[in-house]
Amino acid sequence: MNLALRNLTKSYSGRTVIDDITADLDFPHVLALLGPSGGGKSTLLRLIGGLESPESGSLSVDGTPVPSDKKPLRAYRSNIGTVFQSWNLFPHLDALANVMLPLTAVHGLTADEARLRSEELLERLHLDGHGHKRPAELSGGQRQRVAIARAVAIKPRLLLFDEPTSALDPEMTAEVLDVIADLKAEGRTFVLVTHAMNFARTVADQVAFLAEGRILEHGSAQDFFARPQTDSARRFLDRVLKY
């Protein structure tokens, strides 16, 4: 997959969060966005997902620019699976209904087709038997796996993970990371923002290091972790890999 950023700028109420970034990010499967908090990783992820529109500049995925008009943008978004830190499941629907909703409402599947696919996925993610439970009745790790099932069910061209394990305890973190590693093994393409540094090291093909709204360096994950080029990156890795 190729992500082409050209003079990409995004600000929130006067504060520049993405500062005129121009870069070509190429990766076979997994791109990790790393960096200190407030550096712009989540914002960049949301721009890639079409959840925000840039002030200026452009962003293209595999040569096609991310649309800016309402309808095409919505169609673009519906083909991207997103998993955010705070579950974002609908609390009034049970797990199965949560996974089925995008399939029936947006992708035109019949209820039976949607149910079949959703149940299959929930089983694969070790959630069989939990489909009828509401999010409030599930553990954090289970909720996040339902969110992953919902993102994967639509057969997206790209998956986006925004700190999927930051709100989970270590055991649940492991179970969710296992699932993400499986997704990579299946050959899916995704962009991952995470603070789980060792996981990023294992699973990422390419890394982009963001700080203060700019991509300070990007390249193969191996190179980044072994030989970070910039001082910022070096300092960041020292701090984060300390414990």
Binding site: L51, R74, F84, S86, F90, L101, A105, V106, A136
Partner: protein, 249 residues
């Protein structure tokens, strides 16, 4: 407190309450020379008035929920003119007494439009009044649905209407039903003001009985109980709904 003690506590409290209430009733009965016979002959008037209050309240409730829904959606519409219009409606109506609205709308507006039927005018005015309050309840219910939910809906690719239908309304309903039930009780009580327009609902009926029999307390006490008979079940329903719809989100 153990369950055993709690039960004894409850029984004793109930007994005490019953004794107090009966003592009060006895005192009242002794203090006033009750003349129930006159009022009893007019029981038909009371009954008709009570029924009229019921159907006026039902009609006003239905209409005001519709109005409130439209106003709440209008407040969130992507068109500024619509937003201002509905905000103006809500603020003006909520800021003025129902009595004033009844006087203005009936004696001025209805006259101008040529609306002669008092009952229709009364129900309409009551609905417009109540609709503004319900609009705020519905808006609060909609706003109460977390922003992250709306973002999730966007991320999936739901349209505006799909988001309302699948995400917002099912959850908003849970927040809106309890205060809405309270508003139903308000409508029942506020309908008593329609008596000033000469609409023959429950309050006017009691006033008519009073002027016929000169038995003031005997005319107005049944009035109070009659309204209680309507509002108490509604309050109980509101409390049941509140308990049922409380859950983590």
């Amino acid at each position: 407190m153990s369950p055993h003690h709690r039960n004894i506590n409850r029984v004793l409290s109930a007994l005490f309450g019953a004794i107090l209430l009966s003592a009060l009733c006895l005192a009242l009965l002794r203090a006033w020379s009750w003349q129930w016979s006159g009022v009893w002959t007019y029981r038909g008037v009371f009954w008709q008035g009570w029924l009229t209050t019921i159907w006026i309240s039902l009609a006003a409730l239905t209409l005001s929920v519709l109005l409130g829904l439209l106003a709440a959606l209008g407040r969130r519409a992507p068109y500024p003119a619509l937003r201002w219009l509905t905000a103006g409606y809500v603020e003006i109506i909520r800021g003025t007494p129902l009595l004033v609205q009844l006087l203005i709308f009936f004696y001025v507006a209805a006259d101008a439009v040529g609306l002669q039927n008092r009952y229709v005018a009364g129900v309409l005015i009551l609905s417009i009044f109540s609709g503004a309050y319900i609009a705020e309840m519905i808006r609060a219910g909609i706003d109460g649905v977390g922003k992250s939910q709306l973002e999730s809906a966007r991320a999936i690719g739901l349209t505006r209407w799909q988001t309302y239908r699948h995400v917002i309304f099912p959850q908003a309903v849970r927040h809106v039903l309890p205060p809405l039930a309270g508003q139903a009780a308000s409508i029942i009580k506020d309908s008593s003001l329609l008596s000033i327009l000469g609409i023959e609902e429950f309050t006017l009926a009691a006033q008519q009985v009073n002027s016929a029999t000169y038995s003031t307390l005997e005319s107005y006490l049944p009035l109070a109980f009659g309204y209680l008979a309507l509002t108490l079940p509604v309050s109980i329903l509101a409390r049941i709904l509140e308990r049922r719809f409380r859950y983590e989100s």
